[in-house]
Symmetry: C2
Subunit: 388 residues, 2 copies
């Protein structure tokens, strides 16, 4: 590896965790837990070199790592990163060579940090990129798989020495076995090392810059704690520079109901939010680990792969899906996905149809224009219901 790229040190970790939690659309793990584990490891083992995607050697062996399973369970199981190292070592032993760099397979309060947890202990660099540019519930939804990298061989480590190396031709089939392993061998979660690729391939298939993006978003979230307009004003340029599209406050209100269960290894459910003042105006969001869509009455405001993010209304900090509770006051934010997620090839895997929705994909801004609602300054507030 070249020596370029900044060092991620203890204080950066909190920002990456926080920004990762925003990008993760409710998934990707709890940032407080991700921060706590990673800061402790970096204190003990030293900082981690964050390598720009473009600086990666074309011949380097890159391995994607992270936690899989139901976030509601992941949050209960604090990890030392030991399972991640075990998964990486098992995979390396199987493929007969060592990783030169690690990459996150998704954004998230934990999953943006898992590569750092491992890298710090093994003195490896982490690539400034990930495989989703957000979080999604299934492995085949990683851009690595979408653009042709085999997810397997893949190593999974669960509880108490339970582990597997998986070889599957099809990532979607592998994902089904992974879910079963998390349930059977991991009590609901596991650590995965997967998508072995060379540097040249990573440059083609990864969503670039998302660790630095997470750090910048995290810094804004910290700086504008309790100040929604302040935060939202800073988001478009930061997100836009990383290739994301429009940003819009979609709704503000109180959580009326969260119907959620662990099903087939996922958190699955429906969250309903009612507008302040109980005007009857409600937002519904379907959940599969992440928020998949946002319905305001019978208007579909946004769907995967566009990002739907929930903030605490008062602190303006991200709330992960598993922490969403009745009575919370929240602000729902929409962010248009980066281009790697909206090609025809990607939409076939991460578009609304892939989640069983009837609607086709349309970018959020287009949906909002066609909604008949009047959209005000995105930084200010959700639109009034002035449909004629």
């Amino acid at each position: 590896m070249t020596g370029r790229g900044r060092l991620i040190e203890g204080p950066d970790v909190a920002d990456v965790a926080l920004g990762g939690a925003l990008l993760a659309c409710g998934g990707g793990g709890n940032p407080a837990i991700g921060r706590m584990i990673t800061q402790r490891l970096l204190e003990e083992h030293g900082p981690v070199q964050l390598l720009p995607l473009t600086d990666l050697d074309d011949s380097a062996t890159v391995v994607a790592v992270g936690g899989v399973g139901a976030p509601s369970i992941m949050t209960e199981k604090v990890s030392s990163g030991r399972e991640g190292i075990a998964a990486l070592r098992m995979l390396e032993r199987y493929i007969g060579r060592r990783a030169d760099a690690l990459i996150a397979f998704e954004a998230g309060g934990v999953n943006a940090l898992v590569p750092m947890m491992i890298a710090s202990q093994l003195r490896l660099p982490v690539v400034d990129a990930d495989g989703m540019g957000r979080a999604f519930p299934a492995m085949q939804m990683e851009t690595f798989s979408i653009y042709g990298v085999s997810a397997t061989p893949l190593a999974l480590v669960g509880n108490a020495g339970n582990s597997v190396v998986v070889n599957m031709v099809d990532s979607t089939v592998a994902e089904r076995l992974i879910r079963q392993f998390t349930i059977i061998g991991g009590g609901g979660t596991a650590y995965s090392a997967e998508h072995v690729m060379d540097g040249a391939t990573a440059k083609r298939v990864a969503v670039a810059g998302t660790i630095e993006l997470s750090r910048a978003l995290g810094a804004s979230l910290r700086q504008y704690r309790g100040n929604l307009p302040g935060l939202v004003a800073t988001l478009p340029p930061v997100l836009g520079a990383a290739g994301y599209g429009a940003v819009q406050v979609l709704f503000e209100g109180k959580v009326l109901d969260v119907d959620r269960q662990v099903k087939g290894g996922y958190d699955v459910g429906l969250a309903t939010i009612q507008a302040f003042g109980d005007t009857g105006d409600r937002l519904r969001m379907e959940i599969q680990n992440e928020y998949l869509n946002a319905w305001r009455g019978d208007l579909l405001l946004a769907t995967v792969p566009d990002l739907i993010c929930v903030l605490d209304h008062d602190t303006v900090q991200p709330i992960t899906q598993e922490d969403l509770r009745y009575g919370q006051r929240v602000t729902v934010l929409g962010i248009e996905a980066p281009p790697l997620l909206t090609t025809d090839r990607a939409l076939a895997v991460v578009g609304p149809g892939a989640f069983g929705m009837e609607a086709g994909f349309a970018p959020m801004a287009q949906r909002l224009r066609e909604s008949g609602l009047t959209w005000t300054d995105p930084g200010r507030a959700a639109p009034r219901a002035v449909r004629s």
Copy 2:
């Protein structure tokens, strides 16, 4: 390996398959298919050395191999033994050493032969023993696991390059993942290489002599085709010499109903047989891949681990569970299990309680004595219903 032990050649294979199918209690695969594949491989690659368990070097590396999944599906998927070799190679690569000898994990028309299919191609000896002395539906039911050998690391090969290496502390937990793999990655079946052990351990935990026993049983089945009394007269000495107990014809009649489905990777169901002449006298057998028990009315005549075997009434040849059909004329045979299956330690795993039955285990002969039926010469016919 020492050079002792007989050679298994083409003509022996039909007998091993047939006798294995009898011991397998309906499971273990179809003997016609096992014979066909194995004979072809032995013709091409040469005979296989069958090594008495006692002749195995104490330091030899022994690996158990066979097919797993729903027999009803296994029968539809004729194999070349290639998946078995792939599973063995994957396991060897993972553990970093080569197998010195192969062993069957269960008896059966296919599974007694899978070690030979592989051994012939790789010029390895096969141990004259197996891990069940019959067939059972789950891996933790192998005597290897029962007496302390870890089932894992274990390699499974399914369809089209789908494969896994599994490490699980608990064989019962590993079995659950294996079933999921057969469903997800194998279309219902897979080949397994597992239970790596040294020769000294194999001598302690394997059911000795069951390949030669299968061959002898197969020879008797061939010799006494269509002659039930002739066959049954030869069984007690042959089975007794191998440690099995009493032999008894339990019922003769016509298959009234087979309610069977593939469920969780197993064939699961209930077979009902009515006595000839429709006296209302019926035998019911619960199925989980194998026949688990035999109820005559409200009398429990036999349960796992004792063997319940079904023969065609006219040809006196074994009928595998997946081939049992409405209208078939059948003879049901009970055979008391060998001692390794009836210790307290074994009964906890392969006794009636392990299959959810309320009854405790009692050896078949004791159940029959206490049944109030009059039992005639075991070789002649099922007892008359002369209960007072």
